[in-house]
């Protein structure tokens, strides 16, 4: 037992630096650091300029919202592939409502509620029709992308409402509002995941569904909440994007869900369920967006950017290689 105690206390020492800095995430932090250093050198420090850091966070803000949802879902052994379509649909819907003269204080809540309803439909397919999440949400990905085009007749919708646009481009203390929204959400939902009963039940469902069921945790209710939450976040993201673009576009945010899932997985969330934290997902997200941004600053040719992004994924995840080596020995 002695040896075991030592390990634990080691972890506790590390734990002082905060949950995000746990031994398990050292690989991730090293990856982040390497990326920052490499790009800073290559871009002659432009990469670390205040305005560029803000750019990275703006670029992260929308994917970030969906990343919260996908992280929860992946931990509970679910996934939502419809997030990008829901975001696109919501962006069009909100601008349509605004163009019909509705106030933004009505339009925004309505669209978020509609998002929630879409999430609820997703959860019905998973809970009641017992469809695999991958397939159920692939179906709604298709349906809501189609509807996004249909409600606007395939033409993007223009917004003039200045208060609404502020939501996308305004700043508070120099920080863009989308960034504030996304960071606040990360904080709140990070705490919910790590420190509440609801958060624990998400881990339980993903870690051992039978055990959770036997303990009286209603997995269906929890899943329904997660799908609703993710779709609502996607809707919010779509709204914010529409505000940033001052228009709602039916083809916006294609593939958003893959970026979100990639960020989460980069951040240590596993497809096998039950593992991961929102702090990790945030680091994963920053690595991903920072990398995209760095390549852009360096003006790497777009084809090579595509290649580089794939390689980044492999490289960043391989920082955990050493840890995996140990795990391998034990299968």
């Amino acid at each position: 037992m002695g040896s075991h105690d030592e390990i634990t206390s080691d972890k506790q020492v590390l734990g002082l630096v905060g949950r995000a800095f746990k031994a398990e995430k050292v690989g991730l932090l090293i990856a982040l650091l390497v990326m920052i250093i490499v790009f800073s050198v290559l871009t002659q420090n432009k990469f670390l300029s205040a305005s560029n850091i803000i750019d990275i966070f703006i670029a992260s803000s929308m994917v970030g919202l969906v990343t919260i949802g996908e992280t929860y879902l992946l931990i509970a052994l679910q996934v939502d592939l419809s997030a990008g379509s829901v975001a696109g649909f919501s962006g069009v819907l909100v601008t349509l409502l605004l163009s019909w003269g509705l106030s933004m204080w009505v339009s925004i809540p309505v669209v978020i509620v509609v998002g929630g309803i879409i999430g609820f439909l997703n959860s019905l397919m998973v809970n009641k029709l017992k469809l695999e999440p991958f397939i159920a949400t692939l179906a709604s990905m298709s349906v809501f992308r189609g509807l996004a085009y249909i409600i606007c007749g395939g033409k993007s919708v223009f917004v003039m409402n200045n208060t609404f646009l502020t939501m996308g481009v305004g700043r508070i203390f120099g920080i863009p509002i989308p960034v504030i929204i996304f960071l606040v959400m990360f904080l709140i939902f990070g705490i919910v995941l790590a420190r509440t009963r609801f958060g624990r039940s998400v881990y339980m469902i993903g870690g051992n569904a039978t055990a959770a069921r036997l303990a009286g945790i209603n997995a269906q209710t929890v899943k329904a909440k997660l799908y609703i939450m993710t779709a609502a976040f996607a809707a919010l993201g779509g709204i914010i994007l529409a505000a940033r673009m001052s228009s709602g576009q039916p083809d916006a945010s294609v593939g958003l869900e893959f970026d979100a899932v990639t960020a989460a997985v980069l951040g240590g969330v596993a497809f096998s369920g039950g593992i991961g934290t929102l702090g990790g997902a945030l680091i994963g997200l920053i690595i991903m967006q920072g990398f995209n941004n760095g390549l852009m600053i360096l003006n790497v040719q777009s084809f090579w950017q595509t290649v580089a992004k794939g390689l980044l994924l492999v490289a960043a995840l391989s920082f955990d290689y050493v840890r995996n080596l140990k795990r391998k020995a034990k299968t």
């Binding site: 803000i54 673009m245 039916p250 294609v254 777009s302």
Partner: protein, 325 residues
């Protein structure tokens, strides 16, 4: 680098920076234009870089943030959607960056240009396809049997710049061949790839077994090629006429002994890029607002009308020059 700015400010300036945010740098056309822009800008001592949006409005916004942070002198944009125009112009004005449009203009809600533009008028390009096809039909009497002749218009409804191409083709064709029955004009959606165009064309041919003579217009060469293969597969290519756009695949079809793919609207990518690149450098170095001489009365900005030329088997080599190889 020589500075000839009109204000007489002779203080040496830093290297001018020109950025091009392009809606899709994986398209051959845009690769060509951006390469030509780069050549033109660098030839005059500027620095040029291109950013790709992969047709995503989100990436466009991210790219916009990025070039603003980098404080470029002139920004050339080809937005994935024209509804992004106002956001673009406002952001650039706020940052003091000169912005001009390439291929798709930057317009406000009323359709007025809010920045100088070289415009590849999609509708006009479509018209030239329709015009060619109309002339062909008249010359070859392809519509002699109206009951068994139809026009298939492949289109990509999800891409806003493609819709007017198809519309232009239809409108112009109708003008040329006014007797052509409207019920025989079939619009079918595909996704821009040959594979899908093939499937759509094949299904349309199945849906209309009575049609013997097919006329096809596609908004890109891939679509035209896919439709051509579907016609061949159905054994209906000998009487068919397919018109593409871009001519990058058409030129090779022309080299075959026979192909139903008979014409394409050719767009000169390097000319487009060269004009835009030079205009941007003129703006920086000479203070000349681009395309000013094309300004129409009442409008604030000039729009360079960049058009297409129809090529076919007989003339593609001379029109396309090196591009024909």
């Amino acid at each position: 680098a020589q500075n000839q700015s009109k204000g007489g400010n002779a203080a040496p300036k830093k290297t001018p920076k020109v950025a091009f945010i392009c809606k899709d740098l994986s398209q051959q056309w845009f690769i060509g234009t951006s390469n030509a822009m780069k050549k033109a800008v660098e030839a005059r001592g500027g620095k040029f870089f291109a950013l790709d949006c992969a047709m995503s409005p989100d990436k466009y916004m991210t790219n916009l943030d990025n070039v603003i942070s980098q404080k470029v002198d002139v920004l050339i944009v080809c937005p994935p959607d024209q509804k992004l125009s106002q956001a673009t112009v406002q952001r650039c004005q706020a940052a003091g960056i000169k912005v001009m449009a390439d291929d798709d203009g930057l317009i406000d809600a009323n359709g007025h240009h809010i920045a100088p533009a070289l415009e590849l008028d999609a509708y006009k390009v479509g018209q030239s396809q329709g015009d060619w096809l109309g002339n062909y039909v008249i010359a070859h009497k392809s519509d002699a049997e109206p009951a068994s002749t139809a026009l298939l218009v492949l289109t990509v409804p999800t891409v806003s710049s493609i819709v007017p191409r198809s519309q232009g083709a239809i409108d112009e064709f109708k003008k040329k061949v006014p007797d052509f029955p409207a019920s025989k004009i079939i619009q079918s959606p595909y996704d821009g790839t040959s594979d899908k165009a093939f499937n759509v064309a094949a299904a349309t041919i199945t849906a209309h077994p009575e049609i013997k003579t097919w006329l096809v217009v596609a908004p890109n060469d891939e679509g035209a090629q896919g439709a051509t293969r579907a016609l061949e597969q159905a054994g209906k290519d000998k009487q068919a006429t397919v018109v593409g756009l871009g001519a990058y695949l058409a030129k090779d079809e022309f080299k075959k002994p026979y192909s139903a793919f008979k014409a394409a609207a050719y767009l000169n990518e390097s000319e487009d890029g060269t004009i835009a690149g030079n205009a941007a450098m003129d703006w920086i170095q000479k203070g000349l607002v681009p395309y000013a001489k094309y300004k129409k009365p009442g409008s604030k900005f000039g729009v360079y009308p960049f058009g297409a030329e129809m090529v076919d088997r007989s003339n593609y080599k001379q029109i396309m020059g090196a591009d024909a190889n």
